[in-house]
Symmetry: C2
Subunit: 329 residues, 2 copies
């Protein structure tokens, strides 16, 4: 609503005009790298433009709100930009897609300085460089609350859906589960350091390569954003099956160490800790795929039986109840 | 950040869980219309999927923040959803692209009821039906401030850029300018009603058809979101030219009436009022295109001369200074 410019607050940190900020952002996002071959038009017009794509397109949007999805007292603005970008790219990984590009829409509160914004954008750039796809446009808006909304576009010959898992399929995971939740608690405690857990929390990795390697053999896939139990629940309900997880396969030495430091049960972290952005796939022999670990199997859905069973080394099986994170209840 | 569910506020208006809300949104967005041919996968997986596109892709993102870009005391939530969707689609029109689909990422404050959310989504659906492209996915996030971020994807054989205008080109406009700004002031005053101005403010139209008809003959295009003077300024600077506008061509009877009701100069509204989402194009004979009105011409850039001149009926020419809206200064 163009109802006049907001009044200027001379005590605020240094903030440039929208157009000056866009110039800086463009430089931070493009310097040192040639325009990717698929990009016809990057930042600076009404829209970005990409060359035609002869495969199905996969397209997602994800949002990170300061104080809800990240807290900039627990991570740098650079981490926040990195993490928001990876969270969106992780949806492409879950569809078995190669990323083509990303757009970012930022809501910037008055108190966010140019330096903070530049750190955030450097984090976005670092994440883009890691996944090998450029950030080619976006939008800046004024608001009271910092948020980073990222939309990512990818391509794949065959999108890997949630609903294709079948009884007898193996379940396999690329990337850790539980470590990011341990890293969050470590950051909140401000005490002992566990580098791997803190990195899992602040610098998660979208499992693009794993998604590409899985798409031939996998029947279904999903990324673990809300927690393994919750997201596996989505996959098995969509597929009309149930699942048994192997407890021992979920526990790594790193997770045990980090869990000890935060006084948590490592299995609880693995099942219910969110935002690792690990990639879960189901398929006949997905446990043998490079980068994946077999963590369980799919079984026929039987009314009245638990959706997810957890098998312990001693042969006992217990029901896992979903405990995903729902921002709305 | 999955640091536990927020505490429940029992005095708050009725708000369902995230998953229940997504079910309602899916129904509102899909009921009564078959899945569009280009959509392989809509709401409900990690990402949406679209069939391969054999033309260049055009891709944009736009954000509307409550209290900054709209005020829900001045328009309904349905209008807010409609308007946010049209604002994003307008960028596709400016590139001469046909829309393929949209995704929406909403930040929802605790106080937003299910009924308000449903109204917002009905507005998004109405806008999508008007432009003939479906909303096929998105994201819900909790935050303190309502915002609607919309990303739109389109296709065109030749993206219409900002930087192609040449001396001698005509300038032509599809859609009104100034009426939305008059409509905003009328809504703020709460007094006399001018239906066309209020509709221009609350229910703007992305000029998709005009963009499609312009792309063959036009050298450059841009949509008018910040005001004609400001957005024409972007086009002529990108193209390295200057422009002369014909004052009489900017003034319609509707604009004069609405300007009188709000006590404003109609020419000032036409030049500097934003968010009509009219489409401005430059090209050899774009004034003759269906739906367009010739409003001026492009001239060679000459150092030291004004970028934009306004020619009056009496033969005088005055310099127009940009007065676009910049949320950041």
């Amino acid at each position: 609503m163009s109802d006049g410019p907001p009044e200027r607050d001379t005590s605020a940190p240094r903030t440039s005009s929208e157009f000056a900020r866009i110039d800086v952002i463009r430089r931070l996002l493009t310097e040192g790298s040639p325009l990717a071959a698929q990009v016809l038009l990057g930042i600076g017009d009404d829209a970005a433009a990409l060359a035609p794509v002869d495969e199905p397109l996969v397209w997602t949007v994800d949002c990170a709100v300061d104080g809800v999805h990240f807290r900039h007292d627990l991570m740098s603005f650079e981490d926040a930009g990195y993490r928001a970008t990876m969270a969106a790219a992780s949806d492409l990984a879950a569809m078995g897609a190669r990323p083509l590009g990303l757009l970012a829409s930022l809501i910037l509160p008055r108190g966010l300085s140019d330096a903070d914004l530049e750190a955030l954008v450097r984090g976005q750039r670092a994440a883009c460089d890691t996944i090998g796809a450029p950030l080619i446009g976006g939008n800046l808006a004024r608001g009271r609350e910092l948020s980073i909304t990222t939309t990512a576009l990818g391509a794949t010959p065959r999108p890997l859906r949630r609903d294709g898992a079948r009884p007898g399929d193996e379940l396999a995971l690329a990337g850790p589960v539980g470590l990011a939740a341990a890293g969050l608690r470590l950051a909140q405690q401000g005490g002992p350091v566990h580098a791997e857990a803190l990195a899992a929390f602040r610098r998660p990795l979208a499992r693009i390569e794993a998604g590409l390697s899985a798409r031939e053999g996998a029947h279904a896939g999903i990324d673990i954003s809300d927690g393994l139990a919750s997201d596996l629940g989505h996959l098995i309900r969509a597929s009309g099956i149930r699942a048994e997880l192997d407890a021992a396969a979920l526990l790594t030495d790193s997770l045990r160490e980090a869990a000890t430091l935060v006084g948590a049960d490592p299995l609880d972290l693995a099942l219910h800790g969110g935002e690792d952005y690990a990639l879960l796939v189901a398929g006949p022999s997905v446990g043998a795929l490079p980068g994946f670990t077999r963590i369980g199997r799919c079984m026929a859905g039987t009314p009245g039986t638990p959706e997810i069973l957890l098998a312990s080394a001693d042969g006992r099986a217990t029901a896992v109840t979903g405990r995903g994170f729902d921002h709305f209840t």
